[in-house]
Amino acid sequence: MFPFCFEWAWDIGHAIFFGGFWYAISILGAGMTYCVLKAAYDTVNDKGGSHH
């Protein structure tokens, strides 16, 4: 899973597999971070009020 695990190899298989994996994780992480931060910002600025 990480380059320091001994199964890790710098080969095409690992590059594709973990490339895809970390890419997906990054998108999810970044997306959620954005949402949470934006929500916090909106809450502080009370943009849009408490109605929808």
Binding site: G20, F21, K38, D42, H52
Partner: protein, 418 residues
């Protein structure tokens, strides 16, 4: 007494009635939980699995719930990426069903493995060549996606939504949902596929083995495709059941017809591919390994050609045709028959691709191995069903799952008030 939590304007049964239902289903759930703990503390000797049947009822249940849970990713894909806006009326429910299916799948896996406390080795010591590794990674990532997709709906609960942060969070998540949905679709494509690959790569098992494209056997693509095709059937089926239990129309006909139509075409195209695959396998792959097709369907007390015919024709071709034909699709009775057959079909396919593989003898002097699950296996397999019912009940009661609910039931409510 829980009125404050119920979505505004929605009618729900009384709390005691609700609780009675929950308690009854909860009892089943507890039975399953008890069996689950037996398996965890006493080990897998609680099951009737054996060295011939290393994969059994649970893995079938796992594959089946993931297949029928495919409705979530496919509906999400259509809604958010292909902008089929009509599906907004069912997307929340599709996500909840998907969430239930995937959380169940993960739970089943946690019971199924011999050393649950080491389960994370699949990530840590990953063998990237194993289809199961691909399954584990994509499955858990996609479960995270489903959770993300489910959160806004939870936050839309009347009380939660009063919290400004939650309100804004839900709003913002809706805003970027297309990104999540796209990631989810990507992940789903791979884990549905690699679940198919699990069987297809076993070149020591002629019944399972398929040739394929690059590292992916044909079953890889067939599984993805079938999940996309039959998943919506399951979404529609659960919607129908929910409608019957609540006594309300929850999703508009237009949405249902659209989803059924998409499903129908997916099923039809899938089943054509499946038939081609089966013919190629039966006439080319299997004979090259020294087997006749009849080897897999004879000389045992259970597996006959009936299972192939049921899966492909009765539960594949028939629902496909019923759903692409406008009149049968829009007739509630034939549509319901079609979606039930479809769900059975995909489950049967997963059964065949797990259990029949284990049953078929490969060495010329080996024998068919049939097995009957123990009650612990049955209980833990029913456990997710009970859990799903409870989660749907709670979600339906407290969350605005069906955007059309109020509109569709206005006249009925008015009539009731008169």
């Amino acid at each position: 007494m829980d009125d404050a939590l119920i979505p505004e304007g929605a009618k729900r049964c009384g709390f005691p009635t609700f609780m009675i239902g929950i308690v009854i289903v909860g009892a089943v759930l507890l039975w399953g939980v008890y069996a689950m703990f037996l398996c965890w503390f006493k080990g897998l000797n609680q099951t009737n699995m054996n060295d011939y049947y290393g994969f059994a009822l649970w893995i079938w249940a796992d594959l089946a719930v993931i297949a029928v849970g495919g409705g979530a990713f496919f509906t999400g894909l259509l809604k958010y990426i292909f902008k089929v806006d009509e599906l907004k009326n069912i997307i929340n429910f599709a996500v909840i069903i998907g969430f239930i299916c995937y959380s169940s799948a993960l739970l089943i896996l946690a019971i199924d493995i011999g050393q649950p406390l080491r389960g994370w080795f699949i990530f840590w010591h990953a063998n990237v060549h194993s289809m199961l590794t691909e399954v584990a990674f994509c499955l858990s990532c996609y479960f995270a996606v489903l959770t993300i997709e489910f959160i806004p709906n939870i936050l839309e609960n009347r009380q939660a939504n009063k919290v400004p942060f939650f309100h804004h969070l839900a709003h913002n998540m809706h805003g970027v949902m297309a990104v999540f949905a796209a990631t989810g679709a990507f992940l789903s494509f791979f884990h549905q596929g690699s679940l198919g690959g699990v069987a297809g790569v076993m070149f020591g098992r002629p019944f399972a083995y398929r040739e394929g494209l690059l590292i992916w056997p044909w079953t890889f693509f067939l599984f993805t495709w079938s999940a996309a095709a039959f998943g919506p059937c399951f979404t529609l089926l659960v919607t129908k059941i929910t409608e019957i239990i609540t006594g309300k129309k929850l999703v508009g006909d237009k949405t249902v017809h659209l989803l059924a139509k998409i499903s129908g075409w997916m099923i039809t195209t899938y089943i054509i591919a499946k038939i081609i695959d089966t013919i190629y396998w039966a006439w080319v792959t299997v004979p090259s390994m020294g087997f006749k097709l009849s080897h897999f369907y004879s000389n045992n007390g259970f597996y006959g050609y009936w299972i192939l015919i049921t899966e492909v024709i009765l539960c594949g071709v028939v629902p496909g045709l019923l759903l692409i034909n406008k009149s049968t699709r829009e007739n509630p009775a034939t549509r319901t028959i079609a979606i039930i057959l479809g769900v059975i079909g995909v489950c049967l396919n997963r059964w065949v691709m797990v259990l029949q593989i284990m049953a078929v003898p490969v060495m010329s002097f080996d024998t068919w191995a049939l097995y009957i699950p123990s009650w612990q296996e049955v209980a833990t397999t029913i456990l997710p069903v009970a859990y799903g019912i409870i989660l749907i009940a709670v979600a339906y009661r407290y969350l605005p799952v069906f955007p059309q609910e109020l509109e569709l039931n206005k006249s009925a409510d008015a009539a009731a008030q008169n």
